[in-house]
């Protein structure tokens, strides 16, 4: 390249000077973006990347929940093996099993009912008034009402499942709406749901269907209720153990007057 005329090349120095500043800006921007990414654990801000990250996390969570279930089952086996050693250990093990049953930490089986709930499978008719549009969707309150009614009629264990996960209802379970989906035990769930309850099948079914009960006049629009809810009596159902984290439960509450102060 031919050398530039020195008179005319003064601008190059000035451009160089600001290039230096630009380089600094560039480095700072890059470092900031990197630190944002590494601190949030999200690899990118683009939608496709975020969707993938979400799926990966969901898959990871599912694996971890499965692991919890496996480990709990193992602990159970060890406890039962210990329980055979002495009478004292046996009594303690029996007591422990009972407490675990109360807490929902072991899987249980028995007869009961299954309640299938799903969003209306067809399209919402275009002329539906806005006030009735919510009727075509299963809401958190529907599930809460049914769970409440089931417990009121002698249910001993309930789990709720969707396509991905099955969640045991325990004392601290919250069933809530988070925008487009539900959270049960802080796990995202979506329609269709199956509520599995162990208890007296006939009483449970009658309780749900009783006049002025929660499913009486539920979704008054013609043909909705029959598509969105189905109740089946079952001779044998399995309700799995609670698979969530238990170490973050009881951070604030401790036994009264015990020496173990929190």
């Amino acid at each position: 390249m031919a050398p530039l005329d020195p008179k005319r090349s003064g601008w190059i120095l000035q451009v160089t000077l600001l290039s230096l500043v630009l380089g600094m800006l560039l480095a700072a921007a890059l470092k900031t973006q990197q630190s944002v990414r590494s601190s949030s654990g999200i690899p990118t801000t683009r939608f496709s990347g975020l969707a993938q990250a979400l799926l990966d996390e969901k898959e990871k969570n599912k694996l971890l929940r499965d692991e919890i279930t496996d480990l709990r089952a193992k602990i159970d086996k060890y406890e039962q093996a210990r329980g055979k050693e002495t009478t004292e250990a046996k009594l303690l093990t029996e007591e422990l099993q009972w407490v675990k049953l109360l807490a929902g930490l072991i899987s249980v089986e028995g007869k009961g009912v299954e309640v299938m709930l799903q969003d209306y499978p067809g399209a919402i008719p275009a002329d539906t008034p806005a006030v009735f549009r919510d009727d075509y969707i299963i809401h958190d309150m529907d599930i809460r009402d049914i769970v409440n009614e089931l417990f009121a009629n002698g249910t001993e264990a309930i789990s709720i499942s969707d396509r991905d996960t099955e969640q045991r209802i325990i004392a601290s379970t919250a069933i809530r709406c988070v925008g487009g989906s539900l959270q049960i035990n802080h796990v995202d769930m979506a329609s269709p749901f199956t509520i599995t309850a162990i208890g007296p099948p006939n009483t449970l079914e009658a309780g749900l269907k009783m006049p002025n009960g929660i499913l009486d006049n539920w979704r008054p629009i013609e043909g909705l209720a029959s598509q969105m809810v189905k109740i089946k009596r079952k001779d044998h159902v399995v309700v799995p153990a609670y698979s969530g984290n238990t170490s973050s439960l009881f951070l604030y509450a401790g036994p009264l007057n015990s020496e173990r102060k929190r």
Binding site: I12, G23, M24, L25, T32, S35
Partner: protein, 118 residues
């Protein structure tokens, strides 16, 4: 001589990159926009230089004002809920491409000329 701006860019980059300087994450997008505006000013300066129209005051003030204006616009956009950020990116990005194409044309012409002479 021609490569000096590039060397300056790399030097500045290295200086900050290996120093322990961090900017709050909330400013990340503003900083990126400021960088883009700065790039536009530099490319614009180079173009003016090779066209013999370079003026120091226009160059320096352009760099400062464009950078600050872009950030200010993005900030106001965020406050009022309009993506003015995008307006800045589109306008500045377009200008960078335009100026780069002019610079490219200039160098290609020079190379063609020097080949003819030799």
């Amino acid at each position: 001589m021609v490569l000096l701006p590039l060397i300056g860019l790399i030097a500045g980059f290295i200086a900050i990159y290996f120093m322990d300087v961090t900017v709050p994450a909330g400013f990340a997008s503003y900083l990126s926009l400021a960088t883009l505006a700065g790039l536009d000013a530099i490319i614009g300066g180079i173009r003016a230089g090779i066209e013999d129209k370079f003026q120091t005051d226009i160059f320096i003030s352009g760099f400062l004002v464009n950078t600050l204006l872009a950030v200010l616009l993005a900030y106001i956009g965020e406050q009022v809920g309009v993506d003015l950020f995008l307006a800045a990116v589109v306008v500045i990005g377009g200008r960078v491409f335009l100026n780069l194409s002019l610079i490219r044309r200039y160098w290609l012409t020079r190379i063609a000329l020097s080949k003819k002479e030799s």
